[in-house]
Amino acid sequence: MTAELFIQYIFAGITYGAIYAIVAIGFNIIYNTTGIINFAQGEFVMLGGMISISLLEYMALPLAIVAAVLITMVIGALIEVVFIRWLERPSVLRMIIITIGISILIREVALHIWGESVRSLPYFIGDEITSVAILGARISPQVFWVLGTCTVMVLLLGLFFQATSIGREMRACAANRTAAILCGIDTKNMVTFSFVLSAALGALAGCVMSPITYSQYNIGTGLAIKGFTVAILGGLGSSGGAIIAGLLLGIIEAFSVSVLPLSFQEAVSIAILLLILFIRPHGLFGSKDAAGLKDF
């Protein structure tokens, strides 16, 4: 394999990997505050892309993206307030069914609004055929937008959880909910906030990836499965783990094409998910003891 080819594969892999990682981090934020997996996470990504494409008719691209992220945040908050907030000590199973239901609901509404057609945002720089040469490999500038945006998001998120009081309160919720309540933290608001935050992450990812992957009403499910795989692989709740696992999965998928037929690409990631669930259910980077204490 030549160096050029190698780099081409690597970039294809990390582009995916970054997108998977963002979806996985969205899962983690909500998982940490509520202990549930929000299966509608992929729909946030879809909404971000679709809303920004619709808004593009009325405003400039950066504005459309900001507005799309804000609208998706509101939708995230509404979902939590309407469907989840009023539940007293819901069981894990019930929460999973609820979030799956929400994801179907959002998808159907999206189908109703936008129809089946495939859309995309324009490339932020250049167009469909622009590319930059890196060590002989050619990469679309949009790939750097995806990678850049994901990096910035992860850094800001880290800062938010470490340095702001609301971030610390959310971490307190994650560590021990009862203790957090005793310290006077309004855990219900924290849960709402976690939905808003993961909606924002998903929507922004949906915008930057749209030129590459296109947006359609039903892209959420596939992303949710990949994001879930990555979240499990990295250890549920661990953002750092999600990033490493995301890049790992993306790169494995990309390189799998060089040895396996393309049609097996999806099977590779599902096989990895199953393997991890059997062998290391707490993930590559999660702690077995910590996982044992959680309901799910």
Partner: protein, 382 residues
Amino acid sequence: MKKLVLHLAIITLTCLVSLGIASAKPLKIGAILSVTGPTAFLGKPEANTLEMLVEEINGAGGINGQMIELIIKDSAGQKEKAVSYAKQLIEEEKVFAILGPTRTGSTLAIKSLCEKSGTLLISCASSKKIVDPVGRYVFKTPQNDSLAVRKIFEDMKKKGINKIAVAVGGTGFGKMGKMYSEEIASEYEITVVSTEVYAPNVTDLSSLVAKWKGNSEIQAVINWSIVPAQTILAKNMRQAGWDVPLYLSHGFGNIKYVEVGGKAVEGVIFPAGRLLVAESLPDTHPQKEVLVTYKNNYEAKFSEPVSTFGGHAYDAIMILVAALKEVGESDKEKVRDTIENMRFVGTGGVFNFSPTDHSGLGLDAFEMMTVKDGKFVPYEAN
């Protein structure tokens, strides 16, 4: 009272005389099209076309004095739905004929149903498999996919291309394209170096492009698909700066795919019916009048550019109508026999049906096309 009865009797009599005794009821024609779903770019123009034509035909007094009742069912591109709608149309609605389905897989799934019940089926899907082996009641209007493959290979041979890679979408249409391109390649001294199937909802193929680009043997790529993902390969190839000729199938004949693909699909080469370049045909061309009339009517009514897929539906219903007119009554067997021996000038080409050929189109039905400045134009090899 007596007068009223007399009047009624006269009115009834006149009706019977003018309509013919058996034709008081409208003639039911079913259509199974993927108006929604992943192949909506195909099925929607087909449904539009049928509605437009039935309106026209009924406005002009119907066929042989009998109105047409068109029943369109949306299969959303799913085989299972196509099968249950076919059963419904045949058993409950007792339709005279079924037009469509849009897709190869759906057509193959209902072929035997139509054969058993003796319902005429004129499919809008392209695979040769639909009419090979020949089904007594099964016809189709799009050009055979095997012919499209040949057309592409002819062009490659002219250019001296003999090592190629083939990517197909994981649909019935794609699988047939894979089968025929592998089967026919040797006749044109072409070797298929690599074949890959991608999921219909794939979002990125840059790793596949990397793999192929690393193989310096590959001189051209065929991408055989009917789903919007067919433009993704073009995009990833151009981004990677890999500029071997890219051939697409006749499943690319809707300008909306060009809109989705943007600059990346400029210069792709694909075989298609002449509808896309109707205006540029010489006036003496036998298809010119049909093509221009249909194109103008469609574009005026729906204010969107015409596509070859709507053309397939045009051919399907007009072949049926022509046969019905020739027979003069709605007799299934007679209409079937008539179609089987018919010569028909349609949008897809000049059809010459025969008992052994229920597709009726030859290689000459195709024209090689390309995309220039976001428009379809005839392709001229240089």
